[in-house]
C-alpha cells in the first residue's frame, strides 16, 4: 500500500520551483509535498552519463507545512519559501547530504488579510545583492511584499498596495521592484520610498493583451537589466511594456495558454505556462520557437550561467520530471523527482 501511495504521490508531483547551486553543477528542486531534491547536473551532462544520474542525489523534507513554491540561491545559501516560514540551508550542508536548517524567518501572522485559516504563503522570493546589500524580497499571500535583511534576519520594508495576493517579483538596480498580482496589476516600487507604489500597470484593461475569459490575474513579471523593458503575463496575454512611457508595445500571443513564468535571455524572451510548451520570443513579438516539454503546466524556468560546462535551460511544472534543455530547440533529458 505504501508503495502504491508513493506511486500516486509521484504521479501528482508538482515541482513549483528550482534553482542552481552557486557553482552551477547542481540543481535544487522543490515540490508540492514540501520536499527538496538535489540533482547533479555535471554528472548528468558527463559523456558517460547513464539514466541513474537522472535520479536525485539527495532528497530532504524541507517543510512540514506543505508545498514549497519558490527557491532562491545565494553564494552560500539555498532559500525556500511557500507554505510556512522562509527557510535557508547552507549549500555545503546540502551537498554533503545533511538536512541542517541554518535560518528561518517566520511570517508575522497578524498581518494576514486572506482569512483566519489561511496562512499567507510566499509565492516568490527574489534576492537583491546589488550595492553591497543582501535583501530578500518575498511576494506573499497576504497581498504584501516584505523585504528582509538576510544577514540580520530583520524585516526592513513592507510594500503594500495590492488588492490580492502577489504572484511574482522582479528586482532591478537595487531599488526598483516590480510585482505581479492576482488583482491584475503590476506595481513598480522604489524601495527608498516604500509607502506607495511608483506606478501601476493594468494589462487586463489594455486592449492589446486583455483576455476576459482567463481573468485578470498576472502570474509572472520580469524586467530587462539594462533597458527599461518589463514583461508580464497571466490571464491577459504576455506583453512587453516600456517602463518610462508605461505603454504596452508588444503582445506575445499564446492562444489558450496563460503564461506563468517568463525571463529575458540575451535578446530574446522565454516564457511558459499552462500548456506543455516553452516559447522563445523576439522582442518584436515574433515567436522564434515553441519547444514541447514534459509538464502540461510550467511554473518555473531557469537558465544556468554559473558553470561554463553546464549552460542549460531547465523547466519544471506539474510533473515529477525536471526538463533540461542543453540546446534550446529540444529537450535533452529529464531529472526525476522520485518518491520513496
Amino acid at each position: 500500500m505504501d508503495r502504491d501511495l508513493a506511486a500516486r504521490r509521484q504521479l501528482h508531483t508538482t515541482i513549483f520551483d528550482h534553482c542552481y547551486s552557486p557553482c552551477g553543477k547542481y540543481i535544487a528542486a522543490a515540490n508540492n509535498y514540501g520536499q527538496i531534491a538535489v540533482f547533479s547536473l555535471s554528472a548528468a551532462l558527463a559523456p558517460e552519463a547513464s539514466e541513474t544520474t537522472w535520479k536525485p542525489i539527495f532528497i530532504f523534507e524541507a517543510s512540514e507545512d506543505g508545498a514549497i513554491f519558490t527557491l532562491a540561491s545565494t553564494d552560500t545559501l539555498l532559500i525556500s519559501g511557500g507554505n510556512g516560514p522562509i527557510k535557508a540551508w547552507k549549500w555545503a550542508d546540502i551537498l554533503s547530504k545533511v538536512n541542517h536548517l541554518t535560518k528561518m524567518v517566520a511570517m508575522a501572522k497578524n498581518r494576514t488579510q486572506g482569512g483566519p485559516f489561511s496562512q499567507p504563503e510566499i509565492n516568490s522570493i527574489v534576492l537583491n545583492t546589488e550595492e553591497d546589500k543582501s535583501e530578500v524580497f518575498a511576494a506573499c499571500g497576504d497581498n504584501n511584499i516584505y523585504v528582509w535583511d538576510l544577514e540580520s534576519g530583520q524585516q526592513k520594508i513592507t510594500l503594500s498596495g495590492h488588492d490580492n495576493y502577489v504572484h511574482s517579483l522582479a528586482v532591478k538596480n537595487g531599488n526598483t521592484c516590480a510585482s505581479a498580482s492576482e488583482d491584475g496589476t503590476v506595481k513598480i516600487w522604489d524601495t527608498r520610498s516604500p509607502s506607495d507604489a511608483v506606478h501601476s500597470i493594468e494589462p487586463y484593461k489594455n486592449e492589446l493583451c486583455a483576455r476576459p475569459k482567463f481573468g485578470k490575474w498576472l502570474g509572472c513579471v520580469a524586467m530587462d537589466t539594462t533597458d527599461d523593458w518589463l514583461v508580464c503575463g497571466g490571464g491577459p496575454s504576455l506583453s512587453l511594456w516600456h517602463l518610462r512611457s508605461l505603454t504596452a508595445t508588444t503582445m506575445f500571443d499564446t492562444p489558450g495558454a496563460c503564461q506563468q513564468c517568463v525571463m529575458f535571455h540575451d535578446d530574446s524572451i522565454i516564457s511558459a505556462g499552462s500548456k506543455g510548451y516553452i516559447n522563445h520570443w523576439s522582442v518584436n513579438g515574433e515567436q522564434r520557437m515553441e519547444v514541447p516539454c514534459t509538464p502540461s503546466s510550467v511554473f518555473s524556468l531557469s537558465y544556468n550561467s554559473a558553470s561554463n560546462n553546464c549552460k542549460v535551460l531547465s523547466a519544471t511544472g506539474n510533473s515529477s520530471k525536471l526538463d533540461i534543455f542543453t540546446n534550446f530547440g529540444y529537450k535533452a533529458f529529464s531529472f526525476i523527482f522520485t518518491q520513496v
Binding site: 504521479l11 508538482t14 513549483f16 475569459k213
Partner: protein, 683 residues
Amino acid sequence: MSSKDHHEVEVKRKRSLKKESSPTRGAGDVKRSKSSTNDVKLFYAEEEEVEHRDPKKDLSLFKSTTDDVRKCFKDIRDSKDKPDKSTNDHIETKKRETALHFVLLKKLNRLSHIRCKKSRDATNEAKQRIDQYHLQLQNLLYETMHLEKEITKCLEFNMLSYDEWSKDEEIELVSVEEFYEEAPSDISKPETTKEDQHQLRLARLDWELEQRKMLAQKLKESETSKDQLDKEIKTQQEYLENLQPKLTSILQSTKPVQEYLGMPFDQIREQHQIAGHLPHPLYVLYMQTDAYRQACDKKLEVKIEGDIEAAKSMKSTPELFADKRRRKTIDSGKVERKKKVLKKHPLSVVLKIKTKDGTCLQLNFYYLVTLEIVTVVMQLKSGSESPSSCISWGDLLSPDLLLNEIYPGDNGNSSPNAANQYELRRLGLGEFNQYIKETGKPYLWAQWLSGLQFLNNNKSSKVADSSVSSENMQQTIKRLRRRIKSRLSLLKQLASLERGIIPLAPEAMSLFPTKIVAKLASWKRSTYEDFCVLPYTEELISNGLAKESDIFFTATMDRGSAKMTAQIVMTPDYPAVAPLFLVSLQWQTERSALNDINIQEMEEEVNVHYKEMIIHKSHDQILANQLQRLLMCFDVYLETETQNAEEGPKEISKEKVYARFARGPNRTKPYKFCAEVGIFSHR
C-alpha cells in the same frame, strides 16, 4: 704413378733384361744351379730377415736405389749423347752399377711380398679368432633365453596350479593359536602338528569340519523352535480376529447413545478414516484446516467429499495406474489425453467459511494427480442480509473476481508448478489457463495451505510440507474472511450507487458540508479496454497503477450544464488499496488533468489524500467518502471558476464560504473543507 714414369720403368726393365741376357747369363746359371739346393733355406732365411728389418727403412732404401738407378740411366744417356773415348767404359761401369742396384731392388721386392703375405696371414688369423668368439657369444645368448623361458614357464605353472589344486586354502580357518586353545587334543595332536605344517593344516581342517557340523545341528534346532512359535502366534491372531466383530457390534450398539449425547466421535472417526485415502497435499490441507478450526475458528467447516472406493482402488494400484496412463497417452486422442492429464483425485476437501450475516463461502479443493497441483472451485451462498440484486452483483462475487489477488499478483490463471507448462506442451495441450473452467483455479495460497511450495525459480518441493501449510493458514483464512466482508460491503455500496445515492456512513458526515449541489448522475461498470481508450489514462497505465486485473467503474456527476466523468480504478484488494480516480469535466470546454492543473489537483485530493477520509481505521467506506469528496471538489471548482470570469450572467451561484479563491503559483482552489467552521480553504 704417372704414365711417363711407368714408361720409364718399362724401358729400364727392357734394358736391364738386355744387359743381363748377354754377358751375365752364364754366371747366373751357375749361380742358380749352385744355390738350388739352398733355395728353400734361403727362402726361409729371407722370410726371417723380414722380421728383423724395418719396413720404413726398406722403403727409403728402395727410393734411394731407384734414384740411383735413374741417375745411372741419365749418366749413360748423357755419355751416349756426347760420345768420347771413355764413354764405353763409363757406360759399362754404370751398367754394372745399375745391375747391382737391380739386384737390390729385386731383393726389396721379395721382401715386400713376403711382408704382404705375412700381414694377410695375421689378419686372417685374427678374423678367425673373432668369428670363434662371436659363435661362442651366440651360443651363450641362446642358452640364457632358453633358461628365461623355462623360468617363466615354471612361474606360470605355479600360478595356475594354485587355483586348481589348493582349494582348501580358501576355507577360512580359525587362527592357529585359537585352534590349539579350542580343539581337543585328539584332533590337534600337538606333538605331531607342531613340527609338520602339513599335518597342522590337516588337523585344522578336521576341526573346522567338526565345528560346522555342530553349527548345522544348532540351526536345525532353532528352526523347529521358530515353527513352534509361528504356530502359537497364528492361534493368538485367530483369537484376535474373532474379537473384531464383537467389538464392532459393541460400537454399533453405542451409536444411539453417542447421538443422544451429541458427541460425533464416530463421524469424526469416519472422516479421519477417509482422510487416510486423501492424496498427501489434500491430507495436509485437511489436517491443518481441521486443526485451525479446532483451535481458532469454530465457524469454519471442513469435510471430505467424493468417491472413497475410487480413491481406495487408486491408492492400491498407483504404479499400475501411472503406467497405463503413460502408455495410453501416446496413441489416444487429444480429448482422452486431456482427460488423463487433468484428472482430479476422486476425493476433495470442502472448506466452508461462514460469516456473521449467514453468507457462506464454500471452497472445494481438488488435487490434480498428474500435474501435482491443488485447484479451487468456489461457491458463495449469500446470507439473509445480502443486498438486493444489482448489475454488478454476480460479477463481483464470481470466483474470478472474488478470489483474485488474495495475495498480491495471485490471480490463479497459471499453474504454480512450472513443470506443468512443459508437461502440457509435450502433450500438445497448450497453456493451462484454457482448462481452468474444468479444473478450478490453482491459486498460490491453495498450494501453500496444502503444504506445496513452488518457488519462482522452479525449485519446487513436491513433498507436501505441513509447516508451509500452518505458516500460511491463519493469514489466508483471515484474508479470505476480510475479502468476503469487504466485497459484501462494497456490493452494498455499489447497489446504492447504482440508484444514484452515495451511501455515506453517519460518522463520515462530518467530513463534508451539509449542502452539496452537484449530484451523482450515474454509476456504471466499465472495462479495461474502455479505460485505455481515454486520452488522459496513458500515464496511469504506464506507471502500473491501472492493470487489466483491476475493476473499472465510470461515474458521472452534474451540476447545471457542467458534467463531470470520473473513471475509477479499483484493485481486487479493495479496500486495502483506495480506488484511483481520473476526472474529466465538460463545461464550456473539455477539461482534464492534461489541460487544467486544477482538475489534476482535484484528483490529488481523492487519490493521494484519501487517508483523511478513513474514519476509525475503517477502509470499508472509502469509496463512498472519495465520491462525496469528489462531488464537493466539483462544486468548489465550478463556483471558484465562475468567480474568475469577469462579467455576464453567472450560471453557477456561489453557495459556499471560501477563505480565498486562489492561492499559490498554481492558483489552486480551496478544495479543503474545514468542518469546524464550515468554510473552504486551501491545503
